[in-house]
Amino acid sequence: MSSPSAPHDERGNAARRSRRSDRTFLICFSVLAGSYLLLLVSTLVADLFYTSPGHLWRALQSAEIRYAIRLSLLSCTLTALLSLWVAVPIAYLMARLKFPGKGLVDALLDIPIVLPPLVIGLSLLILFQTPPGRAVERWVPVTYAVPSVILAQFMVACAFAVRTLRATFDQISPRHEQVALTLGCSRSQAFWMVILPEARRGVLTAGTLAWARALGEFGPILVFSGATRFKTEVLSTTVFLELSVGNLEAAVAVSLLMVAAAVAVLLLIRTQGLESALGRPL
């Protein structure tokens, strides 16, 4: 006959095994997650130690870099506004309408996200060599000029804005719009008075992400706009140009400026609690 305490001991052992297994699982995941975070933080710390306030100050004094900062701020802001202008209607229509070929349109909208950046630049370059592209160039010089910087940034940034806003509009129940219609609104009044105000956080997130994405754009700008100082040089091009002439200190200093801008954008998004508008943490 077995001891009366045997089932009790068995349950205790099973509980211990379960706790050990849970602990091992969590430790394994924490190590993997921690290693990636460590890599991220290490690169930032390495950048910080490589440079000094003197390098940063000299970088900020350079006329070329000041031009690049100005052009970056201007082009990123215009790109973000342009992206929102286009992404709001696209995302709204995609969230609300059902039509044949919607899956195809959805896939097309993601092309700038999955395409290699250099290919986007090359495609834009080729587009402006076609007869319609040349016709536009006769009126407004685009290729290797400032508009090409904005267009190259817009191609990618707009796709991210569309994705963000699509998630936002998907989350707003069509019932809200329907109630507004019964209350006397036309479709456009329902959009401007109900849907867009309810999507305001998503719109701000999309604009901020588009701005940050535009700031980091390099490949399409290099191909489509070139890297001409005092003309089409933005901060990402500055890093490349400074590296190519062996001025690593200036390249790192400019990189840190971009890191600071990116962190500021992320902080802005977090403090606004905008991840809730996306339905997921950013």
């Binding site: 019932r175 329907q178 006397g184």
Partner: protein, 218 residues
């Protein structure tokens, strides 16, 4: 008055064919039926939110089949209230009146009346987040009645409420009929609620409507 004449309406492959019924002016009609029987689809068709495939819809003796929702004069209260997250309770009550360009003094008076009747005075400057289920439905009801519509459509407005709030809103709905004379079409699954409120009971099953007059209303 709500009158449907051989109305066919559907969503995808689901279709309600040739539905006909009539609800006299000032009646309180309760529409019952199994889940998925098409009650909400029918209500949406009446509100103009879903196009009908055939038949005519008449409201207050006017053919509204081809009119947009805004022109039908229907107050609509959906199941979950669907309050607008960026507006205060006061702005909800003002919404339809601002759209209709009422003058500010008239809007102020109307909002005051509604707030007093529905017990919303203390909530006027609150936003929907944080309102209880009963408060949400009171605001949704006030918003729907603000512009004095001839028809009120309620899509299971009590289904998400606790017993106390349910009884409370039932009392408010009883008051709606006596106070406004509006024609009400109310969807519910709850027989007790239907017997308490309805003077005309509409049962939707197998794609057709049976009309019953509850004994209390005869």
């Amino acid at each position: 008055m709500i009158s449907l004449e051989r109305v066919t309406v559907g969503v995808g492959r689901f279709e309600l064919r040739e539905i006909s019924f009539s609800l006299r002016s000032g009646a309180y009609g309760v529409l019952m039926g199994r889940t998925g029987s098409g009650k909400t689809t029918l209500l949406e068709a009446i509100c103009g939110l879903r196009p009908v495939r055939a038949g005519r819809i008449r409201l207050q003796d006017q053919d509204v089949t081809d009119l947009p929702p805004a022109a039908r004069g229907i107050g609509f209260v959906p199941q979950e209230g669907a309050l607008f997250g960026h507006l205060t309770v006061r702005q909800h009550l003002e919404f339809a009146l601002v759209i209709r360009r009422w003058d500010p003094e008239r809007i102020r008076v109307r909002v005051g009346e509604l707030a007093e009747w529905l017990g919303l005075e203390a909530l006027l400057d609150r936003v929907p987040q944080g309102l209880s289920g009963g408060e949400t439905q009171r605001v949704a009801l006030g918003r729907a009645l603000s512009f004095q519509p001839g028809i009120l459509c309620l899509d299971e407005p009590l289904s998400a409420l606790d017993d106390e709030s349910r009884a409370d809103i039932c009392t408010v709905l009883e008051g709606v009929r006596t106070r406004t004379g509006v024609t009400v079409l109310h969807i519910t699954h709850n027989l007790a609620e239907a017997e308490r409120l309805a003077d005309t009971l509409l049962r939707l099953h197998h794609g057709s409507i049976d009309i019953q007059i509850p004994p209390a209303s005869r």
